[in-house]
């Protein structure tokens, strides 16, 4: 019971502080919108070509905007020393992980809620189809699961803002391939069977890495 209460407290604290400052959300959203706008002008897309490049544009924008949010979420805790305050509490440290991961997930979903309709207008492609939204959701969960662990590792390093993408992106390759290929398959009018194979990869990745993060987070935050 204490575990879930602590997890909820950490999540709620992050959301409440972010609601007041909008530090993380604003940075992520501006970055994502700029990336989409630049791609839009750079490719000068017609409808057929838009479908080919849109999955890549979408996931590049989501992943790099998400990276900004991940960096900020642990750097703020670390620099103020407030991470020690949480670590002093008699609760399992995986509650800290889960609370932070949920916070990161909510911030990313909030950015996607604004980003996807704008992409739909700019590229004139319906990206709000249920199948695409499932890929976006599972991919975002995978990103938040792995990203939260790696953000906690990177925050202890000297070049932490550079270190996070260097550590995280190679591990994220299966998620990115599955999410981009799956999204492309939906836009190409592929079959449910073809999409299911990519969804299975995303689901398996999410479950496996959630388990690994739970087991290792205690060691990650140890000084």
């Amino acid at each position: 019971m204490r575990f879930w209460s602590a997890m909820w407290a950490i999540f709620w604290k992050d959301v409440r502080a972010e609601f007041r400052t909008k530090d993380i959300f604003t940075g992520m959203l501006i970055f994502a919108l700029l990336a989409v706008l630049i791609f839009n002008f750079a490719f000068d897309l017609r409808v057929e070509r838009a479908k080919e490049v849109l999955p890549g544009v979408m996931w590049v924008s989501i992943v790099f905007a998400g990276m900004l949010g991940l960096n900020r979420s642990f750097i703020l805790e670390y620099d103020r020393g407030s991470l020690s305050g949480i670590l002093l509490a008699p609760v399992d440290r995986s509650a800290l992980y889960l609370g932070k991961m949920l916070g990161n997930l909510v911030f990313m979903v909030a950015v996607e809620v604004v980003l996807l309709p704008i992409m739909m207008v700019l590229f004139n492609v319906n990206v709000l189809q249920p199948s695409i939204l499932i890929f976006v959701f599972l991919g975002t969960i995978g990103f938040a699961i792995v990203g939260t662990s790696f953000a906690a590792i990177a925050v202890n390093t000297r070049a932490r803002e550079v270190m996070l993408p260097v550590l995280l992106l190679p591990v994220l390759v299966p998620v990115l391939i599955a999410a981009v290929k799956g999204t492309a398959n939906v836009l190409d009018g592929g079959t449910l069977g073809e999409q299911m194979s990519w969804l299975r990869i995303l689901g398996a990745f999410d479950i496996i890495f959630l388990g690994i993060a739970f087991m290792t987070f205690d060691y990650i935050v140890e000084e």
Partner: protein, 235 residues
């Protein structure tokens, strides 16, 4: 209450604590003095279960800090020179957050009581980022005492405070010490240390070089005693 035997802590090739052994009884107030880099903060962070020792054994109320860290954390309140507070939450929200982490029943009453104790009752709903350094440090004490721990670890709590705020903090700590808690305090302020403590321990280069009851010492004696102890160790 706190038993430390042969405590060693290394960071890479640097040995910060070199076999410290010490016993602190329940209700005792101990001041830990030492120059910068002596290992005071590391020692307190190990007691607080934030760091693991490389060798030696530390027990708090009979509980091993490495094997039973959760039980030890219930017994400790920790104040460092960083406030461990969230500037974008109000004083009450900060305390409510920590109350949830500690699973406190009747948290709202306890929070109100703590805010009154540290004289911040009227600022309870103001954002912490609007507080002065002195107010922040008082709220930090409230945070550390929220779960009513029998042991309080204070790592240079008066750092960065003006004399008025430091005096107010000292009064608050004296009240807290009067409640029968075991207190271990590090400070650079020798006169405040001797005024406050039952016992003075001097740490230098990771070793205890002196351990005396404070009743044996005047502030002047303590300054000389401290300088001698540290200089001899350095030589």
């Amino acid at each position: 209450m706190i038993h430390v035997r042969g405590l060693v802590k290394r960071f890479g090739y640097t040995i910060v604590l070199r076999g410290i052994s010490i016993d602190i009884q329940a209700g005792e107030t101990v001041v830990l003095l030492g120059p910068n880099g002596a290992g005071k903060t590391t020692f307190l962070r190990i007691l607080a279960t934030l760091l693991k020792p490389n060798a030696g054994r530390v027990t708090v109320a009979g509980k091993d800090i490495v094997r039973e860290p959760h039980k030890v954390r219930h017994l400790l309140g920790y104040v460092s020179h960083q406030t461990l507070l969230y500037p974008d939450l109000s004083a009450r929200e900060n305390l409510r957050f920590y109350a949830r982490l500690y699973g406190l029943p009747h948290a709202d009453e306890r929070i109100q009581e703590m805010l009154a104790l540290v004289g911040l009752g009227k600022r309870a709903d103001d954002l912490v980022r609007t507080f002065s350094r002195g107010m922040l440090q008082r709220l930090t004490i409230a945070r550390a005492l929220l779960h009513n721990p029998p042991i309080l670890l204070l790592d240079e709590p008066d750092t960065g405070l003006d004399p008025q705020a430091a005096a107010m903090l000292a009064r608050l700590l004296r009240d807290v010490a009067g409640e029968g808690r075991t207190i271990l305090l590090t400070t650079h302020n020798i006169s405040r240390g001797i005024d406050f403590a039952d016992r003075v321990i001097v740490l230098s280069r990771g070793r205890i070089v002196a351990d005396r009851p404070s009743s044996d010492l005047t502030p002047h004696d303590l300054s000389e005693f401290y300088l001698n102890a540290v200089t001899q160790e350095a030589a």
